[in-house]
């Protein structure tokens, strides 16, 4: 049906996944382009700039390999978010094994990065470090709102909480972030 043709961009994730399983590799390209901004942004908030693309590509590579076993119990986006969190955790475990600091030293990061001023990069590293040190529920609500640009009502739907609870969690998360930035 759609095999060997570029799939339309308004098709559902489920249809594209089935299409990919049927052998149309271009279906994955559409999934990739559709979900890349959210995945990339989420990684960008927690991983040093010079490793963001590499980690993002690993996430999609793992997704591609595991798509055959994706049962569709959760939405593809939710599944991909969980995979992203696992890959980020794996990235930090690998760094820890190599005995590298949790986030690259400032000088190393600045030397390897172009396009950002050292001051803005320094600020980003401080924020990444603070985000990484937050409890998971706080980090998650901040990433959903800032990195994935989800509205508060969407976060409420996604987490199964009411809107007031999400806004309260968000305020407490920002407050905790501020405390981490000050220490």
């Amino acid at each position: 049906m759609q095999n060997n043709k570029t799939p339309s961009h308004d098709l559902s994730d489920e249809f594209l996944i089935q299409n990919f399983r049927d052998g149309n590799t271009e279906a994955f390209d559409v999934l990739y382009l559709r979900h890349l901004p959210r995945v990339y942004n989420r990684v960008r908030y927690v991983v040093p700039e010079n490793d963001v693309e590499d980690v993002t590509q690993e996430i999609f590579l793992a997704a591609m390999k595991s798509l055959a076993s994706f049962r569709g119990d959760a939405k593809f986006g939710t599944w991909l978010r969980t995979l992203t969190n696992h890959k980020v955790a794996e990235y930090y475990r690998r760094r820890a094994r190599k005995q590298e600091p949790r986030l690259a030293p400032l000088t190393e990061a600045i030397a390897q990065t172009t396009g950002s001023t050292s001051q803005s990069l320094e600020e980003r590293i401080f924020l990444q470090r603070a985000l990484q040190n937050l409890p998971e529920s706080y980090r998650e609500v901040l990433l959903l709102r800032f990195a994935e640009e989800m509205q508060f009502n969407e976060i409420a739907d996604h987490t199964g909480q009411n809107l007031e609870a999400v806004k309260s969690l968000f305020r407490r998360a920002v407050s905790a972030l501020r405390t981490h930035l000050e220490t």
């Binding site: 390209d29 990739y32 382009l33 890349l36 901004p37 990339y40 942004n41 960008r44 908030y45 693309e53 993002t56 590509q57 999609f60 590579l61 591609m64 803005s120 600020e123 980003r124 924020l127 901040l142 709102r145 800032f146 990195a147 640009e149 509205q151 508060f152 007031e164 806004k167 309260s168 968000f170 305020r171 920002v174 407050s175 972030l177 501020r178 930035l181």
Partner: protein
Amino acid sequence: MDQETQYTEKDSKLADFTDRLLGGKTAPIASASDEELLHLEQTVLRLTHAFPPDSQRDAKAKQMLVRFKNRVSREETQAVKPSFWKRLFDFHANPQAGLLLAVVTVLILAVVALPFIQPPGSSVSGSAITSGNFYIAAGMILVLLVVYWISHNK
């Protein structure tokens, strides 16, 4: 106003401030009278300034897709590349290896059998050859067969 109501109000004000900021609208910062809210809004501002939206998102996404596809095909090529042993013992693709194995086997058999072969009329017996040599040669052949079997079952 009780503390719970105060917090609920703060939750809403901070959420509205964030919505306006991320929506690209002007977000007036809280007055200094509410110091806590002011600090929270400043933290939100700090976060949004440190991670500004990517203006070249679409172009970058397409470039990343190209690099992703290259990486996939690179990994697929590496995945299908057979191991050294499999290639060595792939006699269809590498008939010389098969010939070499056959020659080595014949040589080993010849070394083992040589002491037992006596020219007609010879009175010298092959007593210098012990049964140990036979076991060594048989072991070598066995090792070759095991290596062959393992490489084909990898």
